[in-house]
């Protein structure tokens, strides 16, 4: 990593594995995993946010631009590159994220606060990496999480 924009060493890269439906609450669960599958980060998001992520995962092109396509389109017109998104914090089960953007013409980079759902929806459309800090991974309520996700996945397949 020679670039000055390279993320710090305490970041773990994650990929979106799936978006599950939590039919009891009309929310979606975005399941993020690292490369070898040893770390799982599930993030609860609203139905609309979950759909925005699912559309990007399935490379669905909608007839009209959706909200995150519009942000992509702003980035293209302004010649701004979306470099990476980072899940930076968790407080009372609420996750926080940052989007790192850089303007090639102006030679400046900036960080934008965002909800993880927006950050992920934008990352998938921009083909940029998604990271989580080691600190957030350690602080998630991890005890029975993996078992819970496995159970949910099975249920999801059955129905």
């Amino acid at each position: 990593m020679t670039s000055s924009h390279a993320p710090a060493a305490d970041l773990v890269e994650l990929k979106v594995k799936q978006v599950l439906e939590d039919s009891n609450t009309d929310t979606r669960i975005v399941v993020l995993k690292n490369d070898d599958g040893s770390e799982t980060l599930p993030i609860w998001v609203g139905a609309a946010e979950g759909n925005a992520i699912r559309l990007a995962m399935e490379h669905v092109v909608t007839p009209r631009p959706m909200s995150h396509d519009l942000i992509r389109s702003f980035a293209e017109h302004l010649d701004v590159k979306i470099q990476r998104v980072v899940v930076t914090d968790v407080k009372s089960s609420t996750y926080y994220a940052a989007i790192h953007v850089a303007s090639t013409s102006k030679g400046v980079d900036r960080t934008l606060d965002a909800r993880p759902s927006d950050a992920i929806a934008l990352a998938l459309r921009s083909h940029c990496p998604i990271y989580v800090t080691r600190d957030v991974l350690n602080r998630r309520t991890a005890s029975n999480l993996d078992a819970w996700v496995t159970k949910l996945e099975t249920k999801n397949i059955e129905t």
Binding site: R64, P65, H68, L78, R115
Partner: protein, 151 residues
């Protein structure tokens, strides 16, 4: 020809389980109802009531994206109506250049309200929109179907 419109309110449409953004021109002679989904309506509703969410919502992110690079929204225009679907364009300036970007009206309106940018509708859209059908529909509405109106 374009006419400046103002967002007069949001109405819940119980038959379609959707919301209607009601745009009106200055002298209330023209009305443009635009059907939007629940999350789009909430993005517009929050801006109408100047509510700041604890975390940035999608259109707050959009605005901060434009703000950090000093890009400014000049106006948004509802440009076309085809098969009951509206189309919009967002006009912005960035480094002495002007850009026009395709958008859904709901995104354009949500962003315009957050940027205090004017909202316009093209004359053809206002003409195409037959108000007869809407008026009939409005007559069937019960008072409790109405959401928050700003006037």
């Amino acid at each position: 020809m374009i006419t400046q419109m103002r967002v007069k309110g949001l109405i819940f449409d119980p038959y379609n389980n959707a919301y209607i953004v009601v745009l009106r021109d200055e002298d209330n002679s023209d009305m443009l109802p635009i059907w939007v989904g629940k999350s789009e309506a909430s993005a517009i509703g929050l801006a109408l009531e100047s509510v700041t969410a604890p975390r940035p919502m999608t259109h707050d992110l959009m605005k901060s994206f434009l703000d950090v690079f000093d890009a400014k929204i000049i106006s948004v225009v509802i440009t076309d109506l085809n098969d009951n679907t509206y189309y919009a364009k967002i006009h912005l300036t960035y480094e002495d250049s002007e850009y026009t970007i395709d958008s859904r009206p709901s995104d354009a309106i949500a962003l315009a309200l957050r940027s205090s940018a004017p909202i316009f509708a093209s004359e053809s859209v206002i003409k195409k929109q037959s108000s007869e059908e809407l008026e009939q529909w409005l007559e069937n509405l019960k008072p409790e179907d109405f959401g928050k109106l700003d006037s």
